[in-house]
Amino acid sequence: MSDRPVLLLEIGCEEIPARMIPRAAEDLREIVVQILDEASLAHGEARSWGGSRRLTVFVDAVEGRQPDRDEQVLGPPARVAFDEAGEPTRAAAGFAKKQGIDPSELDTIETAKGPYAGFRRSVRGRSVGELLGRDLPAAVAAMSFPKMMRWADGRPRWVRPVHWILALHGREPVDLELFGIRSGRTSAGHRFLAEGPVEVAEPGAYESALAAGSVVADPVRRREKIAALLEAGARELGGSLVEDEGLLREVADLVELPGVVRGSFAPDFLSLPRELLVTTLRHHQKCFSVQDEKGDLLPGFLAVANTDRDPSGHIRRGNEWVVGGRLDDARFFWNEDRKQGLAERFPALENVVFHAALGSYADKARRMEALAARLAERLGMPAPRVGQCAEAARVAKIDLVTGTVGEFPELQGRVGGLMLRAEGRDPDVAGAVYAHYQPQGPEDELPPGDSGCVVSVADKLDSVACLLAAGEVPTGSRDPFGLRRATSGIFRIVFEREWPVSLADLLDLAGERETGAGFLGDRLRHFLRERGATVSEILAVLRPEVDAAGFLEWQLPDVAARLAAIGTVRRRPDFAHLADLTKRVDNILTKGREILRDAKGGEDEAAAWVEDREAALALAELVRSQSARIDDLAAARDYRAVVDALAGFVDPVERFFTDVLVLDPEHPVATLRRGELLAQLKDVLTRCFDIRELAGEADRRQHSG
């Protein structure tokens, strides 16, 4: 254990948007660590806490001061600096004056470039306070947030106005100034519940001092406390919590002293669709829903407050009132929307622009309908199912013109599906519309049925292909139409449902073969990477050299099967060796090209030549027998068996290289025949995968990791 003190920095400000807090806390931690590291100040672990009014960084065991050190300062070359008598020249005097020393203090110092005039001086190390005071303000001012603001005279610019800075190194205050605010040892507690300012004697007392000021400073503790209170609250309402991890994170960063207030609403609202209730509570009021053991909602909710008390019941009554009003609104929109059948409102989509160059959502819906039908047919679905897919695709976007989606945009698709269900329409069509935005991310579920998956892909594929053709190619961090996410969604469905389609099929279905190929190819590699494949494995399967984008024509489940098989190779040490051996085969074939060319000619002689090396005979036999077998296995897509078969080559190939000299200028015929064997060997080894890519895989993984 070091007895070096802990460094504590807290920046106090007006309420930071909850969504920005975790990132900001992490950024501040990195800034402090970087300043310490650049100054070579030893320190221990650094951690940070974020809250609505404060960002806090702790660094353990921080050295108080840089060591003093000797420094050599070089001036002009000695021949310029000293005259023949060895006296300093005017040049030397000028240098000395600039450095603040007497010319007599200059010595001659030998360097690699020859003798120079110079001197040594001792440099005092800076204290942690000096370093932070010097470097922190600019670094903090340069922090970036998704949305920034200016205040006061318009010059300071940060996420919100800064009000106090607490900076301590152990018990010592660290003096610095940020946005015109000087640091001290005083923090602030809860906005309403704290009794006066919070004095912090030393970093170890920070958490308890704030607790006394009614602030739970550690975000993990806040979250745990809220989670426990929610669970207890749900029990008291007679049910269990409808979990919502995202909402929990958000509310934990909205409050400093969390409390949970129980409320109820009129039971007749329970006739509304569950999604609408949960979303109304969550979206507008950041409230949690409660359900019974059957999973039906209860007429109650849990609100997270920035106080652990509600002495007059204001908080409960206020929330109940507002929740009631919101549910009233939701019911109003839902009932209004249902006055007309969903499908009848199709003409209203003509007025909703999808993209200036691509027309309205009605145009998009017509494209989706045709695309969904083609896709369903391509997948061999029976005619009635094809019809369901087409119908669902045609009506999937109509809910964009409903009041309910206007109020709750995140319920797109859901509302359409719920309306169709309420109208008593085909449940398969309703279900497909309901889920067609899924999957929204790598964690999200796929639409449950065939039709939902078809409509989802039709929607995304239409957007990707048409928007790319319209020139909306995502660049860097700019992807305003979410085309990358849409493409990942397409791949997830195709891979997980094992649809027998290729990238080329998808592009043909969307009628945009020209523009989309490069983008889809890139996204496919990215997608495979995200699913855990290494760059080498992807190269080995997609074989850019062998096939030059030929994989566009490959069925995607086949790509997946090959990748899964090649993925097993990682755990097989024999395979790394095989990859190296294959590269060696390659090298010999390249190097031996001249010898092999020269060796040609003596056809009869070659025909008469008989291999006598046992290792070569064994290898030739193996190549012959495995060649046909690997073809059969590949046809059956049993790529794991292919991998096993390939592994069987390790020993014979190794023995061959040990026992047999392939490139033998003395024996051109033997060279020719053995070269032919190696060419066949290479063909067999690389028929399903380009295993050469896996050579040195272990190294590469370290680099990319």
Partner: protein, 297 residues
Amino acid sequence: MNFQEVLLGIQQFWAGRGCVLQQPYDLEIGAGTMHPDTFFRVLGPEPWNVAYCQPSRRPVDGRYAENPMRVYKHYQFQVILKPAPLDVQQRYLDSLRAFGVDPREHDIRFEEDNWEAPTLGAAGVGWQVVMDGMEISQFTYFQQVGGLELSPVSVELTYGIERICMFLSDIRNIFDLPWNDEVTYGQVRRAEEVEHSAYSFEKADVGFHRELFERWAVEAGRLLDAGGAGAPPLILPAYEATLKCSHVFNVLDARGAFSVTERAAHIQRIRRLACRCAEAYLERRRDAARSGEETTP
């Protein structure tokens, strides 16, 4: 506290803290921000503190007096402090105490809400102030108005007077609020709500309003162009014509008269006029400053 007591209380509070107590602007406008004493006064360097109540019309929010909370017209109380004092959050909370709100008995939160008024070329950063789950105020550091970056930065505090009053008196229907001890809000305002809702949603003549929009827009442009012919632009009349466009636009919007692109084009047109007004105002202020005239009290 009844409605007029709340209104008197908040006026008293801010008048006592150095604000010019202004009166509502006498045109149909949708928010206190559109009052020239906000729109123009936040431009340029002169300090300015003002408070006023602005009846604000939002045709799409009309509910025929049938919704307990949404109305065609509501009373916004607006405060501008320029430059924004560093303790402005504290001052705001003190103003709530003036209504008898003890923050220790409530859950008051500042939740991110970045206000934007596209028709005014205005944008700010700030919060909605949420009390016990209810949004009671908008708290905005103005960053831009009329398309111009602001420096110094003004803060705008906007109170929904009806909501605060409902909260304080535990009354759940806006029309049941006591206006004073004898008359309710409903008695004062119900007919206006019913008729204007009907007008905005059903009866407003779309052709007539389109024509009004066009003519007010042309008028605003003409008044701004006056400067080109050697005469100075008539900035305030041009701005009023722009506000007319804005209200007419809101009526047309409530009537569902616009397609998406048409709607965006109209917003754009109002915005351009508002930005030109702001630019002309700053230009004139600079000229005045050069000739040593006094521009602000």
